[in-house]
Amino acid sequence: METDPQLTALFDDRLFAIPTVYNPYMVYINQGLLDKVGITVPEDWTVEEFHQIAKELTGAGAAECATYKSLPLATMGIGGDAQLADDGKSSNFDHALWKRQYDLELAMEKDGTLLPIKRVLAEKVDAYAQSYFLSGAHAFYLDNPATLRFVKDLENYPHDFRTTFRPMPLLERGKDQWNSGSREDAVQISAKSKYPDAAWTFVEFWIGEGAQHVLTAGKISPGAVPTTDEDAEALLPGLLGDARQDTFDIEAFKTVAFDPALKLSVTTKTAGLTEIATIRKALDEKVRLGEIPVDQMLRDLKKQADVAITKDLNKS
């Protein structure tokens, strides 16, 4: 039986929160651009092939950039706890995968396959960058099923290409790895609640019968992840909309999103993570702007993250 808390979300066999959304990460791809350049993306593509295809798409002038986000290699290799060492008392940014991740990001920044950081800052692109993908400017969009709502919204995001899907690229072909998505939007019932039964009834509704109401927003309940093709087909009208035959590569979506081998992780070590996110953002901008090299960035990140973790642990 699986005991890794990153998979089970159990701590000492106890469940502290119930995820309400099954959120696998996947690569949305503009099929029209692939056809234009004559590229076929393999199902088991590697990180290097991802980068190579990105270069071919932008080099041929088919796409302005390949993608807004680079690949979270460390999370793909280590899981949701990639930022902290095993003991949870220091950071993990001296792990080789972090260097590989930021080297790749910088290479993509330099060769123009990544949306340049100057444009990210000037255009205030934040979490939502679907407009670039749906306008045909970017070839890839890395996200969970939440973006389906934008792809099927032809009124606000008019586009005439079909969107196909591929799994997150492999760090090494033939080797097992994590999906950087997770079971998310966890809900907890307060221990002080006067109405725990009513709260439980609501949670049951949320992930059970009520889940159909949030399906149109790309929110798949962990309790409704299909195991048969028939179950998957039943989710498609809500997830992909009425025009799905024209808008989506349905078979690719089913294969990628509902792959039973997907390993979604839960973040179980949380000390200092909020501050580390701020530190990472600042240092990442400096690297991409050419202010500091990756090695210095990782040294600074490790040092500052360790301080943030210590502060958090001392407080608690």
Partner: protein, 317 residues
Amino acid sequence: MSVATEAVPDVQAPPPLRKRLVNGMRWWVPWLFVAPSLAGMIIFLLVPLVSGLLISFTDWDVISGLDGIRWVGVENFTNLLTDGKFWASAGRTVVYAGVSVPLTVFLGLGLAMALNRPLPGRSALRVIFFMPAVVNVIAIGSVWLLLLNPESGLVNQGLRLLGWDSPPGWITSPGSALQALILMAVWGGSGYISVIYLAALQEMPQDLYEAARLDGAGPIRQFTTITWPALLPMTTFLLITQFIGRSQTFGLIAFMTSGGPGESTTVLSYYMYQNGFMYYRFGYAAAMGVLSMLVVLVLTMLLWRFQRGRSLYGEED
């Protein structure tokens, strides 16, 4: 002929109504009149001030509730002394406020003097210059995002037309992001300052200028000996209030740069926000607030002392 005079009864005239009211007033009645203002001051000024001071000696994270308050003495303050990010953000605050405030005030003065002259469309110009003071900060930021876009923005297009081949990256570059914010602050504040100066200029005694002209004083001499000394107390007031306001700037920075790129626009108020509302270190953030309040207080007192005895009317304080 004798005139019979009617004896006037020795009765004192009743005291005026106001006096009667005051004399008969209960001691607590005046308090009723000041109670609304007093309550406002206590609730919105005194309580937060004292609470902030007390919180600065704790490690409160808010989410643990009142049970989570732990007294740590001066630990937050001693930690601040060795916190490089705190000092860096304080330095950026000094640069941001120290450069933008004088520029705003003196540009506002220049605008006011220009608008104080008979000009075609003067009223419309006053409205236009004042407009940034009443427009929502997000709307202002959105327009500036377009203007300062390094490639397509009007500012850099204009600079390129003037022959500057590599104009600044503005908010996309750590070297120029703070300058961009200073530019926006000066643009947004000088119209408001000009309206205040304009009111003062229109109240200036014209006989002083007439006498000066008769004595042969030119425009510059009139400005240095009459206008400027007369405006000095107001200028001091504006410098102080603007400096206090600028050292607390948050909304524009949060919207435009979120403290970046890197940490190049993480000023004190934004660093306080990060510690308080992102990392839930309210005690630490409160200590920053207390320390920065003390610094601003000292600067204010220095500035106030500087202008004493230098104004036209010889005000001592």
